[in-house]
């Protein structure tokens, strides 16, 4: 008499779930989705700055992951692999949109370098708990104030750990442009974080 084995999906490691999913086990895949969905969604949200689009592209990334699952050979973690898929989707969309923000004329002073062209050393006050959450929120706010082009290089470098060459290839720009965008973005972030910190203490 055949014995059916019921898998305990939540207790299984990613590697096992991936192996089962590659054999067609949709429940195993669903567990992977549940386990990593927030991370994938958060990355899409950081890139697109729009919840609806982040939701849409994160779901599309999961669909693509399922379609390409047989290609995943464990060269990176599964979550990293799916993150790269969602990043590529977002990059494609950002290129298609070619968004042009129409800003007030006053905003261009900062955009063009109205701020001091130096990098103020941002101060940190490493108190735990609420302060850390506040800092996380402020960093998110500052990231949101960057242009798509500048935020993309920051996300790929700082959070995905990609080298200049890899960023250049993915975004379709020169290494020189990666470097200048990254520097500009860091300078802007430092300025924004300093400004936000001043606001807090006032």
């Amino acid at each position: 008499m055949p014995v059916s084995v019921k898998h305990d999906y939540p207790s299984e490691a990613d590697e096992t779930l991936v192996k089962w999913a590659q054999q067609g086990d949709t429940e195993a895949f669903e567990q992977l989705v549940f386990r990593h969905r927030d991370k994938i969604y958060a990355r899409a949200l950081m890139m697109m700055r729009n919840e609806d689009q982040a939701l849409e592209y994160s779901q599309e990334a999961w669909v693509k992951a399922w379609q390409r699952l047989v290609q995943f050979q464990g060269e990176s973690s599964f979550a990293t692999w799916v993150t790269r898929i969602v990043i590529n989707l977002c990059l494609d969309q950002l290129r298609r949109q070619k968004r042009v923000r129409t800003e007030s004329i006053e905003a261009m002073d900062e955009e063009s370098g109205g701020v001091e062209r130096q990098l103020p050393a941002p101060e940190t006050n490493p108190t735990a708990g609420l302060e850390q959450d506040e800092l996380r929120r402020r960093i998110d706010e500052a990231l949101g104030k960057l242009t798509d082009a500048h935020r993309t290089v920051v996300v790929l470098h700082e959070f995905e750990g990609l080298e200049y060459k890899e960023i250049a290839k993915r975004v379709g720009i020169s290494i020189g442009t990666v470097m200048s965008r990254l520097f500009y973005a860091r300078r802007r972030l430092a300025f924004l974080l300093q400004s936000l910190k001043r606001e807090r203490s006032e």
């Binding site: 004329i105 261009m108 002073d109 063009s112 370098g113 109205g114 062209r117 200048s180």
Partner: protein, 161 residues
């Protein structure tokens, strides 16, 4: 020395910015447009020695007052005329601007970079309302000087009577 100085402007390799502006008492017919294109350098420094660069005029500085630079030096200035079906290629230092009026009342601006080997590469295409330009609006394309961190480049196109 001139070449070195031009190289320092950096943006000339990337492309030029054209600012199109049209003053109200414009060219001889309603459909004609006389434009002045100026390539300007925004800097807090003085003009380089040995270069006879003039300062941007008061009207141009007024239009750029929201930018932070103390000085705007005109690197090159050219005047052209465009009729209602007009198209022109305007060479500026290290860049070229192609202008064309469209049938729906716009001016199409195509910005090209020109490298040392005289290879022309399209960088940016944009359109602006002809009516707006004839009313005296300025259309400015600008960017950071890639070689001099604190400076910027501006191409200013304005209508002329």
């Amino acid at each position: 020395m001139k070449r070195l100085w031009i190289n320092r402007l950096g943006f000339l390799r990337v492309g030029c910015v054209l600012v199109l502006g049209a003053l109200t008492p414009l060219a001889s017919s309603a459909s004609d447009l006389r434009l002045r294109l100026e390539l300007a350098w925004g800097t807090d420094g003085t003009a380089p020695e040995g270069k006879n660069l003039r300062e941007l005029d008061a009207k141009g500085r007024e239009k750029l007052r929201h930018f932070r630079w103390k000085n705007y030096w005109v690197v090159k200035s050219t005047q052209i005329e465009l009729d209602s079906k007009g198209a022109q290629k305007v060479p500026l230092d290290r860049c070229q601007v192609d202008l064309k009026t469209t049938s729906d009342g716009h001016l199409e601006v195509r910005l090209h970079s020109v490298n040392d080997a005289k290879e022309v590469k399209l960088v940016k295409t944009l359109q602006h309302s002809l009516e707006a330009l004839k009313r005296g609006e300025f259309l400015i394309i600008a960017g950071d000087d890639k070689e001099k961190w604190n400076d910027a480049w501006f191409v200013i196109i304005r209508g002329e009577p």
